[in-house]
Symmetry: C2
Subunit: 203 residues, 2 copies
Amino acid sequence: MEKEKQTEEIIFDAAVQVFEEKGIDGARMQEIADRAGINKALLHYYFRSKEKLFDAVFDKLAGVMFKKLFSCFDNELPFEEKLKLFYQEHISFLQAHPRLPSFLLTEINKHPQRVAAIFGSERIMELRQNLFEQMDEDIENGALQDIDKMQLMIDIIALSVFPFAARGLIEIIFKQHDIDFNDFVEQRKTALPIFVINAVKEK
Amino acid sequence: MEKEKQTEEIIFDAAVQVFEEKGIDGARMQEIADRAGINKALLHYYFRSKEKLFDAVFDKLAGVMFKKLFSCFDNELPFEEKLKLFYQEHISFLQAHPRLPSFLLTEINKHPQRVAAIFGSERIMELRQNLFEQMDEDIENGALQDIDKMQLMIDIIALSVFPFAARGLIEIIFKQHDIDFNDFVEQRKTALPIFVINAVKEK
DNA sequence: GTCTATAGAAGGATAGAC
DNA sequence: GTCTATCCTTCTATAGAC
């Protein structure tokens, strides 16, 4: 029914908020119900248990995050341009979903098999392979030093994701220096591609 | 008494393990008691409540982490040497305390005031100021580009800490590529200083 | 200081009316 | 499909014996 779909979505969205903020252990079904404007019984009617509701939320968010991560790299631009586009798009994405990194990094241990499934999916495997092949080309044509591709991939992602994963901490430090978090990450959209390119381009 | 001190330490160490692994919400007093080889009542005898026990653990671990972080930079070496020493020492520290980053990043939101106190402490303020002054010198004497010092500080830390914060996720990906996490971070001790220096040194 | 036993509260889940 | 009322388990915390 129309009504059914709507309620389910409202509940799901409320659950996303609460789980992102509190994690599965800290989240309360009562709070999710309150935020959705319904009662606890209805949560169970739609999702059966807290565990299953969490699973649904986790799968959705993990899928969104990882697809975005790799698709930002999915183009035929030369390495330097690819990097510029990546940080632009990826940091914009993180600005729109600032709690996603710490949520996923915290809860991922409870779902190793689910995450493995995502990374083993056709689409993600393909994107990752594309990325690595393009790096190989860039190494061959001399745009890139002959460095460890996995190390570089982690370096690149660390630089965009870490500030969001550590946001709570960073904001405390920034307050003491009168720095605004949003300004800070906004700057990184253009600063990081330069940083990384200097680090790895062939001299 | 001798006995008293000993028991308190045993409980504390057990609490460190369980809180690091499960977080405050996921941790159970029963599990801490079991791991300490005593019963629940004794936990409350020594620490009064779960909350207070957690506070003690959190303060200790946060102190250890942040003091180590800044003290690794506390020397008069030129920038390049400082970086080499930092990554060597800091990654070794993280290898010895692999769960620390994700524990702190997750729980930090529940203790903003406590964390602010640590970062406002004399010792930490002093270490941080030293670090920034040394960066200024390196910029003046031309060893370093004239870049944003806060940005650079976050870049440097992101590169060492992120792999540990994201360890659960990274190990899943590495399994698909037959890469060993420990080998991976070991390599970073020497690779990261080069990476960062290339990124920021004056041409 | 350490234990057993239990109180008391919280939270996930379900029954049953509408 | 949605609500109220309530069950039942789990967990923190304490009382009281040794």
